[in-house]
């Protein structure tokens, strides 16, 4: 498989602060790849180093196999969609988009054709003559994307480009961006702190924390098989129970948690190791739904919160630990604080995290 962008042990220090810490990544051609993490995790710095707007303190960056570590932005085949778009306010939509083409000294007829084409692509035909300040938020967004795409970059870098839009528009643009990427086939590297956004759009996600990559995997895998406690907590919600591996064999795993024995299918650590057990609230069943589950206990409901389509219930297990369960509205009938209830989940939904 062709690799478009490769980072080898890349670090970036700002004075005493380590923004990016020995990050290695390989991003495949045509992939929609997201860098996901909380603010300050180093995701934007990583993106800016790929684009040549920042330079690594250590490590190498390769673009289609060529080392570009020290090459400035204007010598790289990458283009970026900036967080605040950075459209040139003194130029029209057409001139904004033509900016890169003019620098490459394309003939005017080619420029006109390409700009028109890309305006079609982002669904803004005939907007070339507009001034930037005449556009709506969503339209500016499209112009910024068009301005980058028209140069046919090897890689398109997107730095939280949807952050300034309101929720409804953001959701619409997510779908549109994904469809656009499909059509043009360019490699997209997308920086976001919004896990929902990353899960919907990405082929693969790198979850970053404190300058390091915690896990690189597909959306499904990240969600179902988080490898660290940070990933499990950052992506979706999770119940965490600290315990110790009591038994690990080909038939499955048993983790001892406060006297409870939690069944899982696999564990990253041998018997005796301290681990954290994680289970998603939507996998925790209550009442009759828990019948037959590999992990099944009784508990007492402490609190019930109505949230529209779903209901959340906090349950104290008889062994001590508390769990949050998320149920469909109709399955929640009869749940009331103080009631005794059966609690359970399948062994396959138990995720055992090292440490």
């Amino acid at each position: 498989m062709d690799v478009d962008v490769e980072l080898r042990e890349v670090s970036k220090h700002f004075g005493a602060i380590v923004a990016v810490d020995r990050v290695s990544l390989a991003i495949r051609r045509g992939e929609f790849f997201s860098l996901l993490g909380p603010s300050g995790c180093g995701k934007t710095t990583t993106l800016r180093m790929i684009g040549g707007l920042e330079f690594p303190t250590a490590g190498e960056i390769l673009l289609r196999g060529a080392v570009v570590t020290d090459l400035p932005a204007y010598r790289r085949a990458t283009n970026m969609v900036f967080q605040h778009l950075a459209l040139f306010p003194h130029l029209t939509v057409f001139e904004n988009i033509a900016f890169g083409l003019r620098l490459r000294r394309e003939p005017p007829s080619v420029i006109a054709r390409k700009v028109d084409g890309v305006l079609q692509l982002v669904d803004l035909p005939g907007y070339g003559g507009r001034e930037i300040h005449q556009l709506s938020g969503g339209q500016k967004q499209r112009v910024a994307i068009a301005r980058a795409l028209v140069n046919e970059p090897a890689v398109l870098l997107l730095d939280e480009p949807l952050g300034s839009l309101d929720l409804k528009l953001r959701l619409a643009m997510q779908t549109e961006l994904k469809a656009l990427q499909h059509r043009v086939g360019t490699t997209f590297i997308y920086v976001t702190h919004d896990q929902g956004e990353a899960l919907t759009m990405s082929d693969r996600i790198a979850v970053m924390n404190l300058g390091r990559v915690e896990q690189v995997a597909t959306s499904q895998e990240i969600y179902a098989r988080p490898r660290t406690r940070f990933v499990a907590g950052f992506i979706g919600e999770a119940n965490f129970l600290d315990g110790r591996v009591a038994h690990a064999g080909p038939d499955g795993v048993l983790v001892a948690v406060n006297g409870l024995r939690v069944r899982a299918e696999a564990a990253p650590a041998p018997a005796g190791a301290a681990v954290t057990v994680s289970v998603r609230p939507e996998h925790v069943k209550l009442g009759v739904a828990a019948d037959g589950a590999a992990n099944r206990w009784t508990g007492r409901i402490e609190e019930v919160t109505f949230m529209g389509a779903v209901v959340r219930a906090r349950v104290a297990l008889d062994g001590g630990p508390r769990l949050v369960a998320e149920l469909h509205n109709d399955a929640a009938a009869g749940l009331a604080p103080g009631a005794a209830v059966a609690v359970g989940w399948a062994a396959g939904h138990t995720v055992v995290l090292a440490g």
């Binding site: 684009g51 932005a73 204007y74 283009n79 900036f82 967080q83 950075a86 890169g100 620098l103």
Partner: protein, 272 residues
């Protein structure tokens, strides 16, 4: 109370009109005297004529001085814009050891009394055997205009959007192209304001020039200063009338092109 009837407000506005009258009085009466018929200072003028304008145009020395002033002011303005923009870029866009010290080094000439600097400049020029030339005059004026340019352009660059420059670089523009196509349009106002003030300050510079000029090679304000010491006939009033006319055109241009906010910032910063 309606604002229109508020007595305190009315008193304030009346006071403002008095201040406005005070500001305009010497300018208005200079214009009146320019058309006076008398050859000495008297009000009201016994009659009106254009003879002082006619006499003004015979004054070759004043004309030569005006040319000198124009040359020096233009050169000082252009140099402070070029050198000042580069310095402001260095100060704003990079982090390095000694940046604050450098800023102080650049702005210090603003607090030095001009006449003190003029004394030093003369001695320096004599030592270097450049006394009386337009080049030493140009350097002296540049020292006065450069701090302005640097302080105004620094402020302009700080408020310019850095990400636009990054976007240009990202789209393939090398540093000089980025500067020309993206940075420059953003600091246009700063350039206009600092250029405008650099020109005015140099054009109207007496104290710094006073000792640097030779009697046969003056700048206009110095020539006028010496003329006034010798005689006070309305030739200077006629010349003043012309200069006021030019200034009025300048004021109109300034009002039309410069944002009052920027103007205010410059004047508040001690635009001297």
């Amino acid at each position: 109370m309606r604002p229109g009837r508020d007595p305190v407000r009315l008193a304030l506005l009346a006071f403002l009109w008095l201040v406005v009258a005070f500001m305009l009085a010497p300018i208005v009466f200079t214009l009146v005297f320019a058309f006076s018929d008398a050859s000495y200072l008297i009000f009201p003028p016994p009659g009106y004529s254009l003879r002082w304008f006619a006499k003004l145009f015979e004054q070759r020395a004043l004309f030569a001085a005006a040319i000198n002033s124009l040359v020096v002011a233009t050169a000082a303005t252009l140099a402070s814009l070029v050198v000042g923009t580069a310095a402001a870029l260095g100060l704003v866009r990079y982090r390095f050891f000694g940046r604050e010290l450098l800023r102080t080094l650049f702005l210090a000439p603003l607090i030095v009394p001009r006449i003190a600097f003029g004394v030093a400049m003369l001695i320096y020029a004599v030592v270097l055997r450049r006394f009386g030339g337009l080049d030493s005059l140009f350097l002296a004026h540049l020292m006065v205009t450069l701090p302005f340019a640097i302080s105004i352009l620094t402020a302009a660059l700080v408020s310019a959007d850095r990400s636009l420059e990054e976007a240009a670089a990202d789209l393939g523009a090398p540093p000089l192209v980025t500067f020309w196509k993206v940075t420059l349009p953003q600091i246009r106002t700063g350039l206009a304001v600092s250029g405008f003030f650099a020109f005015i300050v140099s054009w109207d510079q007496v104290e710094t020039s006073l000792f640097l000029v030779k009697t046969d090679n003056m700048t206009l304000p110095v020539a006028m200063f010496y003329y006034l010491q010798r005689q006070q006939d309305p030739v200077i009033a006629a010349l003043s009338a012309l200069l006021i006319g030019v200034a009025a055109v300048g004021a109109v241009i300034a009002v039309l092109t410069v944002n009052p906010r920027d103007l205010q910032r410059v004047l508040s910063a001690g635009g001297r």
